[in-house]
Point group: C2
């Protein structure tokens, strides 16, 4: 419990810092885009680094679905202390990962009250997924959607080369 | 192992981000002070948050030394995955915490080559200690010193009110 607290607190600090820093120098609209991409980029690099360690002793994956399953179980458990609750796919490169109690949203009160704050707290994790997949040879576009806190859906669209 | 990697990678990203961001707008000298204090302040808040969780079910501490021991053992183990190797005190409010293999310095090659980079990577942790102590009722000044990587000494001077 104290372990995930470290990550959660650190993550909150980063989000707060990135937004505060931008607020001092840019206009509002531009700010929003930049902050999200800054956080996404940080997540990307962390995801790349982590997956390298995680998969060091792993057998190779047999297909994309296999990679996604690993991400939903092992990777997610280590980072967010629980597995993804539901993984769906259209078998054409689109995956939806649903976490019913996403760690980085649990500090908020449940419901719809802080819904517009949510994207701030999801950008890093989108990058994390994209970075992890990238290092496993899958380029992707990752977006997140919250309709009721603290549940969250990540949509991963694999880019065919 | 993958757990501490998350913290280490995230910490590296923060340091890199804070320095990069400042480099784009300030002159060099001012930059340095600001970056260190930004990181220290982030550490302070994370330290405050963490200690609150850690000590929730703890008995009260009988004196300052007792607090420091808790910090060196339980707190350090959770955050940095090992205990402080050596704790010394002059019994007048000054404590020296020595970590012979400080987690946030292990990515560097050992020795003196990157010594001048070290302060960047210690500011957050100084804040972490100061924040934890502050929440336990002890105001302090915390500084860090590296003479040979990856070993590190933190000096804590308790401020008597």
């Amino acid at each position: 419990m104290a372990d995930d607290a470290l990550f959660e607190f650190l993550h909150m600090e980063i989000v707060a810092h990135v937004y505060k820093e931008q607020a001092t120098r840019e206009d509002i609209d531009k700010e929003r885009v930049t902050c999200v991409s800054t956080l996404e980029a940080m997540g990307f690099r962390v995801g790349q680094g982590l997956i390298e360690r995680f998969t060091k002793d792993c057998p190779t994956f047999k297909d994309d679905l296999d990679v996604m399953k690993f991400l939903c179980k092992d990777f997610w458990s280590t980072v967010f202390k629980k597995q993804i609750d539901n993984l769906r796919t259209n078998h054409q490169g689109t995956y939806v990962l649903q976490d019913n109690k996403f760690a980085l949203l649990t500090q908020f009160s449940s419901g719809k009250q802080y819904l517009e704050e949510a994207p701030k707290y999801l950008a890093f994790s989108c990058g994390l997924i994209r970075g992890a997949l990238s290092n496993l040879g899958l380029e992707s576009v990752v977006t997140a959607e919250v309709s009721l806190m603290p549940s969250c859906k990540f949509q991963v669209v694999i880019q065919k080369l």
